[in-house]
């Protein structure tokens, strides 16, 4: 019960934190209290998650909520894992916020909605019935809308918030539909009943599609990602870190809960896994290709989140396919890979957003084209940001590599599944994963290189300053965790093993650490093995020896001017900038990007004397443009047509009201007559309505039954 108590305490602290502005009005005090309470929440969530994974969870029914439906809470392995994920990032973000929010005026709305947002996420993870789930889901969506529009004085922030709210509610509607389908099959809102219910394949497929698109929208799956690159950059950076690091994972949690837990691997159909795999591959490649073309640092990170969600979906899709074809061990491996990537992404993306926030804090801009050389002005931020860049690029010995490696392994070991098409789809998606990983490396060379290396491209960048200790500490924790998770997967995976035990009734912990803590062996050493500690130790020893051999006394490095090919006047504008860095890819993938490029050459004096060349390139998210715009246009034209109905006098409005009531009464009586029909199993077919009337004289609107039902 420790985990449940800790989780409840976390929720209480969070609720308490929303009340801060009510009893204190000083900005500084508000900020400190907010950060303190959020840090406590994070810590409690970590404790709850760890206890749940190691000791076991529990369940609880709270006397809150609807009269006939009290709130059901439950902690199992899956929710414990996500509690841990929420807690670990929340703790560091809370510490970071103490520094980041300093000097920010009017943070009252932030103090209300940030804890509310966290409360929503905690509640979603804890809930054990559909009603509680949707309630907290909506709290999460709505409160994050207010966080996105925190700086609402800018038009684009309001626009981004509106798109976000719209899509979040579309997602909510689809998820509600999926729960409704499950409710119809089980007759109860409680998850326990939904798990037991037998559902027909058709309805299972409908529930899967609704849940997949609904949670996919919230997770930023392509093509439902339109809101993500708008909303994440405009939110304050600590909120972006939470949104990108945790909120997207809560959507993944929802998907796992509904599809893997409530329906279960027994209901999987072969095309489900294919669909998730395809969506994942598409998201991974599209996300990173678009990330590469961004010049706004936070927008780049937002697109890269889409890529990482794609990687997680590739793992889940593989797991679903393998579970469907009854390879529970391999399926568990893919699932572990996906979950490992989920927590990795929370760590390094949280860190990257915090780093971007630090850069924004000290230069006042998100535009990469005016940065450069920040490594000299902000050495700590640069080093921590670099750790996250290496981790997200999937390079050893950091954590990103481990999860991608696990997913690769499960793809490689997948035996032949029914048919060549299915069998080649798996390696193909692994190749897409490799492409996405390599492009991500390019993307983060660009991000780090343009922002931190080179020479400063503007006055603001050359006068940047290092951030304070709170922010450094907040960034150092996830950086350290990135290294730890990269070095000791063998210690982490057995902790996660309770999740495949819950969902697939199988365990891979024996094979994983059969060879000691040093060796990660997913199935056995003959298949594949990886040892990050040995690689790191080997590199440290080799590097140290090389360094020591090459540095006898008295050999110093001479500093000089950089080599300029003989041209004495090099300036900072001659460096490769963000647009230039991605030019080769823009050209290679021009079919995907369809960039609008314009070159103006000014030759005012003579055709041979070029005075100025101006190159303008504009890249749009074609998916958004082609898919969302027609829908928006259609809705708008429909609204225009409906507009006429609003221009009536009072009698028309009264008529609307009357017909609406009539319609609703008719609906009600249809429902009752169907119910009556079910109570009368002997009377099938003939003279249905009159018999029902005779048998049920007390029906209040009986007259309408004959009128409508016949």
């Amino acid at each position: 019960m420790l985990s449940l108590n800790a989780a409840l305490a976390a929720c209480m602290v969070c609720t308490l934190a929303t009340l801060i502005p009510a009893f204190c009005s000083r900005n500084g005090l508000q900020r400190s209290l907010l950060c303190l309470l959020l840090a406590v929440t994070g810590l409690l969530a970590c404790i709850a998650g760890l206890a749940g994974l190691l000791v076991g969870g529990g369940d609880l029914t709270l006397p809150l909520g609807l009269p006939w439906l009290p709130m059901h809470l439950r902690i199992d392995a899956l929710s414990s894992f996500f509690l841990l994920l929420i807690g670990s990032l929340l703790l560091s973000v809370a510490i970071y916020s103490q520094g980041y929010l300093r000097g920010m005026a009017h943070i009252a709305s932030l103090t209300v909605f940030m804890p509310l947002f966290v409360l929503g996420m905690l509640g979603v993870v804890l809930s054990d019935d559909a009603f509680t789930f949707m309630l907290f889901w909506e709290i999460m969506s709505v409160s994050s809308y207010f966080l996105v529009t925190f700086e609402h004085q800018h038009v684009e922030n309001r626009k981004a918030g509106y798109i976000y709210l719209l899509m979040a509610h579309l997602a909510g509607l689809l998820i509600l539909g999926s729960f409704a389908t499950l409710y119809a099959a089980s007759g109860s809102f409680e998850f326990a009943a939904m798990r037991e219910a037998v559902i027909s394949p058709l309805w299972a497929a409908i529930a899967f599609l609704l849940a997949g698109v609904g949670f996919g929208t919230k997770a930023g799956m392509v093509p439902m990602h339109g809101w993500l690159p708008e909303a994440h950059p405009v939110a304050p950076s600590n909120v972006s870190a939470l949104m990108s690091g945790i909120m997207l994972k809560v959507a993944i949690f929802g998907f796992l809960r509904v599809v893997w837990d409530l329906m279960g691997p027994g209901d999987f159909q072969w095309w489900w896994g294919m669909l998730v795999l395809a969506a994942g591959s598409g998201s991974a490649v599209t996300g990173v290709l678009l990330a590469l073309q961004q010049n706004d640092l936070k927008r780049l990170l937002a697109y890269s989140s889409i890529e990482n969600i794609g990687i997680i979906l590739i793992g889940l899709g593989l797991g679903m396919l393998l579970a469907r074809f009854e390879y529970p061990m391999l399926s568990a491996l893919a699932l572990i890979g996906a979950l490992y990537h989920a927590i990795n992404h929370a760590l390094f993306k949280g860190l990257l957003f915090m780093g971007a926030g630090a850069v924004l804090h000290s230069t006042g801009t998100r535009n990469m084209e005016v940065m450069g050389g920040l490594i000299h002005r902000m050495p700590w931020t640069a080093a921590l940001f670099l750790v996250a860049c290496i981790a997200i690029a999937g390079l050893p010995p950091f954590n990103g590599f481990v999860s991608e490696w696990l997913i690769f392994q499960s793809a490689l070991m997948a035996p032949q599944l029914g048919g060549t098409m299915l069998s080649t789809m798996i390696p193909f998606s692994a190749a897409m994963l490799a492409l996405a990983g390599a492009l991500a490396a390019a993307c983060f060379v660009k991000a780090f290189g343009v922002v931190f290396l080179g020479r400063s491209r503007s006055e603001a960048a050359s006068h940047a300053h290092e951030v304070d200790h709170w922010m450094k500490l907040g960034m150092a924790i996830p950086a350290l965790l990135c290294l730890l998770f990269g070095l000791s997967p063998v210690l982490v995976i057995p902790v996660l093993d309770a999740i495949p035990q819950l969902l697939l009734h199988t365990s891979i912990s024996d094979s994983v650490h059969a060879h000691g803590w040093l060796w990660l062996t997913p199935v056995d050493t003959g298949r594949a093995s990886y040892s990050a500690p040995i690689i790191l130790a080997g590199m440290l020893v080799l590097g140290g020896v090389t360094f020591w051999l090459l540095h006898p006394k008295g050999r110093t490095i001479r500093r000089s001017k950089m080599w300029s090919c003989g041209n004495p006047h090099l300036n900072a504008r001659m460096q490769y900038n963000a647009t230039a860095f991605s030019q080769p890819l823009r050209r290679i993938f021009s079919g995907v990007y369809q960039p609008e490029e314009k070159t103006h050459i000014a030759r005012p004096f003579h055709t041979l004397l070029t005075q100025q060349v101006r190159y303008i390139v504009h890249i749009q998210d074609l998916m958004v443009q082609r898919l969302y715009q027609p829908v928006a246009d259609y809705v708008l034209s429909l609204a225009k047509r409906l507009d006429r109905l609003h221009q009536q006098d009072i009698r028309a409005y009264l008529a609307y009201t009357f017909y609406t009531i009539l319609f609703l009464l008719a609906l009600l009586s249809i429902k009752q007559s169907i119910a009556a029909y079910h109570f009368w199993p002997l009377m099938q077919g003939k003279a249905l309505s009159t018999q029902i009337l005779a048998g049920q004289p007390r029906l209040p609107v009986a007259g309408l039954v004959t009128g409508v039902a016949v």
């Binding site: 060379v445 290189g449 090459l550 900072a572 900038n577 860095f581 290679i588």
Partner: protein
Amino acid sequence: MSSASVQIIQAVMLLLFAPLAAGFISTCKARLQNRRGAGVLQPWRNLRKLFKKEVVMAHHASWVFRFTPYIVFTATLMAASVVPALLVDTPLSLTADVIALVALLALARFFLALAGMDIGTAFGGMGASREMTFSALAEPAMLMSIFVLSLSAHSTNLTTMITHTLNSPFALHPSLAFAMVAMVMIAVAENGRIPIDNPTTHLELTMIHEAMILEYSGRHLALLEWAAMVKLLLFSTLIVDLFMPWGMTAQADLTGVAIALGLWMVKVAGLLFVLAVFETSMAKLRLFEVPEYLSGAFVISFLGLLSYYMLEVGA
């Protein structure tokens, strides 16, 4: 002999022979072009010279620039010591499978590209941008080719893959042929050889690898050049391992190791000679034809995969 000592011999051998291999290629090319050439030992002399020279660094170079040579060198050396060359089952071959090997080389490349951008010259950024672009396209093709091999061996561990090839009866597998062609194409691209990049030219607008290391001097440059040579020998050994491992020894006895060493040298020399012939008879590709070359390699390895599923699974 214990397998650990063979492991050390192997790693040191790859390290020391790497400049010789580079010298061998340039000598072969010189002879093919009717020149005498500078001799097999020339790369060694170059390295010695560079190690003696003073290091000059730009005023605003950061620690990334300074430590990159060491990171690149050690990551490449680490990768090289994982690849079995003589003995099939070496102690270190379990620390990283093929995917981790590729990732180690990617780590080296990541830092090299960052160092290219550190000084802030146009050339450095250009090299970094192109290197990362082309390697991003090469990586899926390389992985696809490894996929084809691992399908029949059921493993990505080099030791298991080699044992599988050694123990299965010799037969012509179309899927392996496809995989090998793709792998050779990728190896050429990854090592920056003609027709992708030309390691012997400096200050050309089409250079990639040389553009990134343009600012380096002295021992830093020596380490980077050496790492590039080790990488070339590493890829040759990898191709030999995966497609023609015959002669590698399973036991760490003296005669077995000696035979394996002799055969390894012959096989690698043969491969390098073929490379020299190709480099002499071919011109460099235009920069924006490189993606077509790389996607060609991807398609070839994908064909290998399809042919594996269609022709070899049932058989």
